[in-house]
Symmetry: C2
Subunit: 208 residues, 2 copies
């Protein structure tokens, strides 16, 4: 990144702005006010203005923001213009679902291979190459792998993630129910469905 540092909190909201701008785009809306964004995303209008000012998105009084410009800037900042090669490690139900989920291509993320210890069990993966775990190290050494998606069992997740990070993969997207962290060596996002479900159950109980 050139220019000033953007805070983690702002970053965490950028995907929400981006998604909303995509929605406006599909509705052919080309201008939007901070107030409208604020209401749609449940963020205060002043926070919206402050966030968007971080990357030169200055709304004009009585005019609002140019949605095309904002979307292009956020896309650029998020790095969504570059292509990213991903591999899925663990071809069980979650791995197969992820292999089939075309939504990632909106973010220019392409799943190139699915690895599993038992390749014959991996079905319906959308013509994506299925490889044995024994080939993992060699594959990473010989291909550009930007993102490793971890969908193995909890017990194997840490070991297998360490293995790919040691081989030079710098982004881990983890679906195993364990928080992974590779401070300084790789970035990681954990999707923890079990924790989300527990929060839901708790909130639902409290609400009754």
């Amino acid at each position: 990144m050139n220019g000033k540092q953007i805070s983690e909190n702002v970053i965490s909201r950028l995907p929400k702005y981006y998604r909303y701008l995509q929605e406006l785009d599909s509705r052919k809306i080309t201008r939007v006010s901070s107030k409208t964004i604020s209401q749609a995303l449940n963020i205060t209008a002043s926070q919206v203005r402050q966030d968007l000012s971080n990357f030169g998105g200055f709304g004009q009084q009585g005019y609002g923001y140019d949605t095309d410009y904002l979307k292009a800037r956020i896309r650029e900042i998020l790095g969504l213009n570059d292509n990213h090669n991903a591999i899925i490690i663990g071809g069980g139900r979650i791995g197969q679902a992820l292999a089939n989920y075309k939504g990632f291509e909106n973010e220019n993320v392409y799943v190139r291979a699915v690895f599993d210890i038992e390749t014959s069990h991996v079905k319906n993966v959308n013509n994506i190459e299925v490889l044995n775990m024994l080939e993992l190290d060699n594959y990473i050494k010989t291909h550009k792998v930007d993102v490793a998606i971890i969908s193995v069992q909890k017990e194997q997740a840490k070991t297998v993630a360490e293995r790919v990070v040691n081989l030079g993969v710098t982004a881990i997207w983890n679906f195993a129910p364990i928080d992974l962290n590779f401070e300084g060596r790789a970035v990681c996002e954990n999707i923890n469905m079990s924790e989300s479900l527990m929060r839901l159950i708790y909130k639902s109980k409290k609400n009754k």
Copy 2:
């Protein structure tokens, strides 16, 4: 809940404690210090002590916490002792993966039916009943449905979730790429994979 109100932030950490205590349990560990918990979960030890004191989990100097007691208390607070019936709406890849994910049974959440507009497309759902969307309203009126899992396309998500909330379902677990909110009428947890992927891509780009 009887007794004092537990803050949202504490609640959001409870599933992490719970998961860690399960892990200790599987390793036959019966006592644990706040320091050990702190290191495992990347939460400061003083925060751990403060969080756990909220529900009568008082560690003893030189002894630590009784893991069985803590686990049982957190399980109770989170409402995990009660059985919860869930239905999945949308039997595409994500819906099918969720129907097959046995992990939810740890939280006593049982998927009882999968709804889709085209039932013949819904396969491999672990002997769970597959029903046509036309039967949804009647099903909810005649069965106890605690959680509706939304895994339809983004465009349908809001409408279908509104429909089940209007029928009295009070907990929505949403996997469609749109944030749902039913302020006061139902609780909701959104699993937004696309936003997580965008954050990952951004952090990875920044790290290079």
